[in-house]
């Protein structure tokens, strides 16, 4: 295998991995502030792509329809937290998780009825021939995906470490009750984290749509991969979700390269299980033991 081919496999893996990472970031954000897994996360990925396409079809310029899609999806995320989850917030994690599954089915069915069953295409952000790097080709849209992933992770890290809101989010994740006693509006923090997670998922969905098209049913698969990325990296930490996503993407593409395309999903799943067996807290997760 020549070095340019190997590079192409790596690029392909990093391309898919960045998408997994964007979805995984949403899982991680919600987990950090609430301790639950939001299974509607994949549906925000779907909403981002579908709403952007709908905007373009209505005649909006591309950047505006992407912005509108991201904001609308964030609104849906906030509404879901406020009206579906908050009324039952004392019911325990399992009930809340099941509510998110219900929400994902509702969103998917609504999208099926509003947008129809067919796949739809979104124009490329910056059309043009692929960029060549040492004999390997990179689609321009992939550069956008990488760029947006970097912006998202840097932005989130700054938010967590430098802002008051970020400190409030971290405090809430350590202990809701203590945070509330310190005067933090924990309900508001949870709502904001749902909105942010939805916005990130939607951004990923809109960024991928020019490459892959989008449809009402892309959410489940995106959610599965994003969840795997978040678990692999270690839940609750943005950098870990990104690392998990990239590792998962590269593993898949290398299993195509060296083993077989038929088993690529199985191979990456087995490796995921192996990692979790050896390091249940994920690659970058902190040890699960709490100090008393």
């Amino acid at each position: 295998m020549s070095s340019s081919e190997l590079l192409q496999f790596l690029i392909s893996g990093l391309q898919n991995g960045a998408v997994y990472a964007l979805v995984g970031l949403g899982f991680t954000l919600v987990y950090a502030s609430t301790g639950i897994i939001n299974f509607a996360q994949g549906e925000f990925f779907m909403l981002g792509g579908m709403l952007a396409v709908a905007g373009v079809r209505m005649g909006l310029p591309l950047p505006l329809s992407i912005l509108a899609a991201v904001l609308l999806s964030a609104g849906v995320g906030v509404a879901m937290e406020r009206f579906a989850l908050r009324p039952r917030r004392d019911s325990g994690a399992l009930v809340l998780i099941i509510i998110t599954i219900g929400a994902s089915m509702v969103l998917k069915s609504l999208a099926r009825h509003i947008f129809g069953p067919n796949e739809m295409a979104l124009p490329a952000f910056t059309p043009g021939p692929p960029v060549l790097l040492l004999g390997a080709a990179i689609d321009r849209q992939v550069l956008w995906i990488w760029g947006l992933t970097i912006v998202a992770v840097v932005g989130l890290t700054l938010l967590y470490t430098k802002t008051k809101l970020g400190r409030a989010m971290r405090a809430s994740s350590l202990s809701h009750d203590a945070a509330r006693l310190m005067g933090i509006d924990t309900a508001g923090v949870v709502m904001i984290s749902f909105g942010l997670a939805a916005a990130l998922g939607a951004l990923g969905g809109a960024a991928v749509a020019p490459l892959t098209q989008t449809a009402f049913d892309v959410g489940a698969r995106a959610g599965l991969k994003g969840f795997a990325a978040a678990i692999l990296g270690g839940l609750g930490n943005p950098i870990a979700a990104v690392v998990g996503g990239l590792v998962l993407g590269v593993l898949e593409s290398l299993s195509v390269a060296f083993i077989s395309s038929t088993y690529k999903d199985a191979i990456s799943l087995v490796l995921l299980l192996a990692v979790l067996f050896l390091r249940p807290q994920g690659l970058l997760g902190k040890s699960g033991r709490e100090k008393v």
């Binding site: 496999f9 698969r221 390269a257």
Partner: protein, 396 residues
């Protein structure tokens, strides 16, 4: 931290539930006002994929059947009785297709089943169909459907065992002998893939690469990088889902200049829209419905196809694709046989009447079933298409 582990475990269980339950079943039963006569309507079941990977195929199928049902009922029905089609969504899932057929047979007492949209879903119905002895007309193109012969099962599309040799011969005729295969792991893709490998020697082509992808995959550059390294003359893709457009775009992205050839499953407008520039020059074999002039103007087949295209375009505002055509044919096969049944129509007498179909002109070809052949189409019905200027033209 115990709670965290429990949350993750619960989450994993929940994920399983999402993937298995997600394709919510939407039952759309389209009854008809039984104005004429007091006789019970003929009840026909139809299993189509209205969600999942084949949603884009099953939806036009349902539309075509609804349109024809309305036309027949408005004209007084068949033998003075109305026709009622009960639709079930299988969500592109064989297990759901099987549940749907059980419901249609046991609760709705249908006299025939049209479906399913996909090959795996079609095969999943077989046990129930045989137990009930009800005729089934499939709209899927896998060869296995009629190659694994069953006296109750018929098929309207051109099966892979006709299309694959036709396609390989066309490649050989164009001097494209080093063939790289990329297919999906669904029923239709796998069926085509196995036939390509089996027929390659006979056709005189050489398979230089053999890659697969899963339905739902969003990037095939890794597989195509391997194919590129094998330097083929042509890439032959076999699938029917939306992933086809991604393969076409990835080929362009990798700067590969080899032509891409596909299957009848790619004869969808969404493929051209999704692949954009990358669809230009894409070739595939299919029946003549996309360009009915191929039948020769004035021939009965041309008239039938023209009328179908005009009716469908009028009713839904878009031209029908090949899947709408398969559904039209399936419904035509059943209703034509119902007209010919002597005495009271039962599943058994209807099955015999379908098997006796001879020279029935549909939009996908002229059907002639026999006790040995339940597909009834030949290579004669196929032509080669090329995408040119975002539409299909005949590739001579």
């Amino acid at each position: 931290m115990k709670t965290r582990r429990r949350v993750v475990a619960a989450a994993l269980v929940a994920m399983l539930m999402v993937t298995t339950v997600a394709g919510c079943s939407s039952k759309g039963s389209s009854g008809s006002a039984t104005g004429e006569g007091s006789a019970e309507p003929y009840r026909i079941g139809a299993i189509v994929s209205l969600s999942g990977s084949y949603a884009g195929l099953g939806t036009p199928e349902q539309k075509a059947i609804e349109m024809e049902m309305k036309r027949i009922n408005d004209a007084g029905g068949i033998n003075g009785r109305q026709v009622e089609v009960i639709f079930e969504d299988d969500a592109t899932d064989p297990a759901k297709a099987q549940a749907a057929v059980a419901r249609l047979l046991e609760q709705e007492n249908v006299i025939a089943v049209i479906g399913a949209t996909g090959t795996s879903q079609t095969m999943a119905l077989r046990d129930d169909i045989d137990r009930a002895g009800v005729p089934q007309v499939s709209m899927a193109g896998g060869s296995v459907i009629t190659a694994e012969f069953d006296k109750n099962v018929f098929q309207t599309p051109w099966p892979n065992r006709i299309v694959v040799p036709f396609t390989l011969k066309a490649l050989k005729d164009r001097g494209l002998v080093n063939v790289a295969v990329i297919s999906d792991t669904g029923g239709y893709g796998k069926d085509g893939h196995d036939l390509i490998l089996k027929d390659a020697d006979t056709a005189g082509v050489k398979i230089v690469a053999d890659e697969t992808f899963n339905p739902g995959d969003t990037d095939m550059t890794a597989q195509l990088t391997k194919i590129k390294a094998a330097s083929p003359d042509v890439v032959l893709m076999w699938n029917a889902g939306k992933e086809a457009a991604i393969v076409a775009k990835n080929i362009k992205q990798l700067g590969m200049s080899v032509p891409l050839v596909g299957s009848p499953g790619n004869g969808r407008r969404e493929f051209i829209e999704g692949a954009g520039d990358a669809a230009e020059g894409f070739r595939f074999a299919a029946g003549k419905i996309l360009v009915p002039e191929a039948y020769g103007e004035g021939t009965p087949a041309f008239e039938v196809a023209q009328k179908f295209i005009a009716d469908y375009s009028f009713a839904y505002g878009v031209a029908p694709d090949i899947f709408a055509g398969h559904a039209f044919d399936a419904f035509l096969v059943v209703t034509d046989a119902l007209k010919r049944v002597e005495g009271e129509a039962t599943p058994a007498s209807l099955r015999d009447a379908i098997e006796a179909t001879d020279g029935l002109v549909g939009v996908g070809g002229t059907f002639a079933y026999s006790p040995e052949d339940h597909n009834g189409l030949t290579e004669e019905e196929l032509v080669f298409y090329r995408v040119d200027g975002a539409t299909w033209v005949l590739d001579k």
